[in-house]
Symmetry: C2
Subunit: 458 residues, 2 copies
């Protein structure tokens, strides 16, 4: 078999890099659980009719076909009608899960979900065909008080802050009520069109957007300028409220939005720092039309070209079954979008390629059972340990450990009187000390592989 080549858009990690992903996922899960979010997993597939409800993503769905159906006995039309496809996000499956199990869930239902999703789009930087997302959502039955908007923002900010090997980040928050109320208040007739055009400010020059606001959204020059001025407003505190009021537009929905957005910004204050910022940024709109209040995007400092790594918002009707509607608020972290570039660019890796903190050296093949017993003693104390694969010369066994990044090698010494003593060698410093395998453990920092900056890791 020829050497296989990677599939474009399907990133995979080498063992040392997977260490980074494991630690990121563990830190996220720990923070989410500390806040009472329970974990669920949903199946990878959903019925096509569910996946195709959102027009925009329909072209990206991977359709599933059983091979044994044969090439001709079922057309793609039938697959579309009754078939299944791979989920392209975790929101559609979650909405279905909530409806399917509503009678067995307690509301408000806080859940986190960390799974792969698939999109059959053309791979490009930061865009993959298979990638991991980590979502948190809080869903209510019929009602979901606004304070949960503040809660999900705080939880995700705390979770991202826990990834202390990351550069800083900025959570950008806006509110649909605010911008929709503003556009209504200044007399715009096609609110959605205005929002779509303002959303293009990061791609088109301001003058061009202004032109389109007039030609396509039917605004006059003064209205267009006010919309553009609104989009320039940003602040790390509630001062944006006065800036908006200074524009002289009034509307009840606008007022609601201002109050909500100020509450999110103030509520996240205790979680901010020099590197962790939460800003009211009034140009953020989010393309998807199901958001109805708070909206979130997140930029990684120094890696702004990745786009938003973490997005979400409030949706007043995640799902509905006729009897009840289920409003929700959530944020989704693009784990692969965040990590794959950092790993590929060599920013992050794991400190070693195996979990083992200790290699038990082997004098000869006959002493393997004794070495296995020593290893078991260490494992019983929580020390990841492996036994040398072969009874090579000790220098070779040390190089074996070095190549894997294993920090300690354990040697047994049999004295002339037949008693055995054990020594642990820190192969980084060369220091060698007598130890009792029944009680000795390496320093806590050496127990598990650490996430390190590759440049700092020799």
């Amino acid at each position: 078999m020829a050497k296989p080549t990677p599939l474009s858009g399907f990133p995979e990690f080498l063992p040392a890099d997977r260490v980074v992903e494991q630690q990121v996922l563990a830190t996220l899960a720990r923070t989410f659980e500390l806040h009472g979010f329970g974990n669920i997993e949903t199946r990878a597939v959903e019925p096509m009719d569910q996946l195709l409800r959102k027009g925009e993503t329909s072209k990206e769905v991977y359709v599933l076909k059983r091979l044994q159906e044969g090439p001709n006995d079922q057309g793609l039309e039938k697959a579309l009608d009754k078939g299944m496809g791979l989920h392209f996000d975790l929101t559609v499956p979650f909405a279905r899960y909530v409806l399917e199990n509503a009678g067995k869930l307690e509301f408000p239902f806080r859940r986190y979900q960390i799974q792969k999703v698939w999109r059959g789009e053309r791979p490009q930087e930061g865009r993959f065909r298979e990638f991991t997302q980590a979502d948190i959502d809080i869903v209510g039955r019929d009602v979901l008080p606004f304070h949960h908007d503040v809660e999900v923002a705080r939880v995700m900010v705390e979770a991202l802050s826990g990834l202390d090997f990351l550069p800083g980040f900025t959570l950008q928050v806006n509110n649909r009520k605010l911008i929709q109320g503003f556009y209504t208040g200044l007399g715009a007739s096609d609110i959605d069109k205005v929002m779509q055009l303002i959303d293009k400010l990061d791609k088109l020059p301001v003058d061009k957007v202004r032109e389109l606001l007039i030609s396509d959204a039917g605004l006059d020059e003064k209205q267009a300028d006010l919309c553009l001025q609104l989009a320039t407003i940003a602040s790390e505190d509630a001062s944006f409220v006065d800036d908006v009021r200074a524009l002289g537009v009034s509307d009840q929905l606008l007022e609601e939005g201002l109050t909500e957005l100020a509450a999110v910004i103030e509520g996240c204050k205790p979680f901010t720092s020099d590197t962790v910022k939460v800003v009211a940024d009034l140009k953020i709109a989010r393309g998807l039309d199901y958001y109805t209040g708070t909206v979130f995007e997140t930029r990684l400092t120094g890696f702004e070209s990745l786009g938003s790594i973490c997005s979400g918002g409030r949706y007043d009707a995640l799902a509905s079954d006729g009897k009840s509607t289920y409003p929700g608020v959530g944020i989704s972290l693009g784990v692969s979008r965040l990590l794959v570039p950092l790993v590929q660019k060599g920013v992050l890796t794991g400190s070693r390629v195996v979990p083992s903190a200790v290699l038990v050296a082997l004098t000869d093949e006959e002493s393997r059972p004794a070495a296995d017993a020593i290893a078991q003693q260490l494992r019983a104390n929580g020390v990841p340990t492996e036994v040398a694969a072969k009874p090579d010369k000790f220098g070779k066994q040390i190089r074996y450990a070095e190549r894997r990044g294993i920090p300690f090698v354990l040697f047994a010494r049999v004295a002339e009187d037949g008693t055995t003593t054990h020594e642990a060698k820190d192969i980084r410093s060369g220091e060698q000390v007598s130890i009792d395998p029944a009680t000795w453990t390496p320093p806590a920092a050496d127990l598990r592989p650490q996430v390190v900056m590759k440049e700092q890791h020799s």
Copy 2:
């Protein structure tokens, strides 16, 4: 939208049941890492030509098609030729990963992999279309010493033993060299045929198998009886060796197999107990033809009808790239096959439906920031905590905690002089004590949801 119904063959867990799966996976991962197995994940898809190399499973592969390819511009034939399908096990992807990254891996390479796999087969008890497997393998370059066979057996036995809420289990071990050598030694000409027929002993009566050994495998009556006698031999120690020798068949491969099998059984001895058994069972053959030495199956005590929950063995050529071959030995645990029936039959569930150990009660909506601050103090000490969704009457807030299984409710009491004190109520016992939120934590056993027998959980 109408209430969705479950998809047959795609099991999903409710939050309390997912607790069971989370703890199982965490325990397995911990054990694997203690033994130096590093984690990897491979993409869900593989090229169809790789997936179809094993004839037996070809009918079960789910083929992937991008929706945007349109119904007619690419036939299934092309998908088969150049397309992709979902992996049906973790061995095929692992073999591909090893070949693709051989230059960047250290051998022997120990890895564990816990992922979903997909098979488009008809769902039935213990058979799913989507299910989770946990695989460990050790792979060498060109050579892999036999002692690794003992190692993987020990690691999996220790991992399964760590799931202390499971009933007992029996790891059944056999060796292909032993049975092939035996059949050769007694003069059988079609070794594979004999092995296939002996493998049917759990489905067909002995007489029928005997008949087929004579009619289909060309054995004489004495040879057929010897084969059947071999298959009845089983022992929890190395005494099976004498039982085999007593049959009077001699062959060099047989001797090798006897030595290896005895070594696995003896090597696992320290890990056995009243409920954890490792037996040499000479009727175990494993259908798949890539095994070349040790083979494993595992039965769960009291749930034998599930079939083998954990299977594997030695394969002398997991992969080959022309320059090197990569021999390996591994075992695969069917996590879903094990857990889905235990959860559905009501044997196991989680002790609560949320991670929260504490609910901070709310006097009124104005005190939410104070309650949030208390909750953050608890979380900083590792206590999963949520704040009441609404300032209901305290009785209602306690019932809110009860429904979720949250063991403690925290109340703030404001004295007449304005000072605030805090009390923690264990809602199971009703006991209420004064606490300092900056230092108080619930008992360790209450910090996380536990796996419990449903019958014992009121």
